[in-house]
């Protein structure tokens, strides 16, 4: 593991956690409270795990192929992001108030992480020419 990828993972984790936490807090306070279904500590830990795993995978791909690492990783990352969107949509929540609004709450949380990670990776990881 190189320092660049570790810093990328930690930075993406910190920033996406901060943004997601703020969003979840305001959503729970002002719209519908889903803090029982998705507590804050879960948002923080999942964001950090995703950021560190993504950084690790990116490092692994770069290790194998420096030239094509960006295109391979970005394609894989985009595919995973799209597939992950299905999770909150298909989630069956019984016995809570307004379950139909859960995707409205959960979907931006996935997007925040993806957008922040991709934005930071283009800053941290230089193109191989």
């Amino acid at each position: 593991m190189s320092k660049t990828f570790l810093v990328l993972g930690v930075s993406a984790g910190v920033i996406s956690t901060f943004v997601s936490f703020l969003f979840a807090y305001f959503f729970n306070q002002n719209l519908f409270n889903f803090s029982n279904v998705l507590p804050y500590w879960k948002i923080v830990s999942v964001d950090f795990t995703l950021a560190l795993t993504s950084a690790g995978v990116y490092y692994g791909i770069t290790f194998i192929s420096k030239i094509y690492s960006k295109i391979i990783f970005n394609s894989l990352f985009a595919l995973c992001s799209i597939v992950s969107v299905l999770m909150p949509i298909t989630a069956k929540l019984e016995g809570i108030e307004f379950p139909e609004f859960y995707p409205t709450f959960a979907l931006p949380l996935y997007m925040f992480f993806s957008v922040i990670f991709l934005a930071l990776s283009s800053i941290f990881i230089k193109d191989e020419k």
């Binding site: 190189s2 320092k3 570790l6 029982n36 795990t49 560190l52 016995g95």
Partner: protein
Amino acid sequence: MKKIVISILYFGLLGLSTSIALMPSDHFIVSEKGHTIDFKSKDPSGTFDQIKGEFDFDENNVSSSKFYFKIDVNSINTGNGMMNKKSQTEEWFDAKKYPDIKFKSTKVEKKENELLITGELTIKGITKTYTIPTSYSKSGDKISLKGKFKVNRIEFKVGKKSEAVPDFMNISFVVPADKK
């Protein structure tokens, strides 16, 4: 050497965040089957067949627990079809306007082996504070709540005061739930 330190740091952080992310929260969802909500009085008696709900329950920190239940008024079953229909009219539960009976906890205490769940009980749009003594039994990822309490139907404007139907209804419940 530097790479080894960075790798250890990386896997340490990843292990920590993954173990927290995968940690089960003590969040329970009421099972679709196996629950009973009975009401008994001199006349009438019956059950509500449908309840939905969720709760956070930590045996070691009960004060942080939160309970939420919703009973479908239309699922009332008195064993008499005519009476079931009558109970949904405006005079009784007014099921069209108020399809659910709701309970939301505001305070949970532990007294010996029993929980005292205080919360807001809403029937027919009227909310009153009730404390419900509840016992529980846990087995793996399953929990069952059991309890009895009395409800004054007049407080909630469910029917009118009469000699035929007593004011107080004895409610008993068994609510199984699964950890999510």
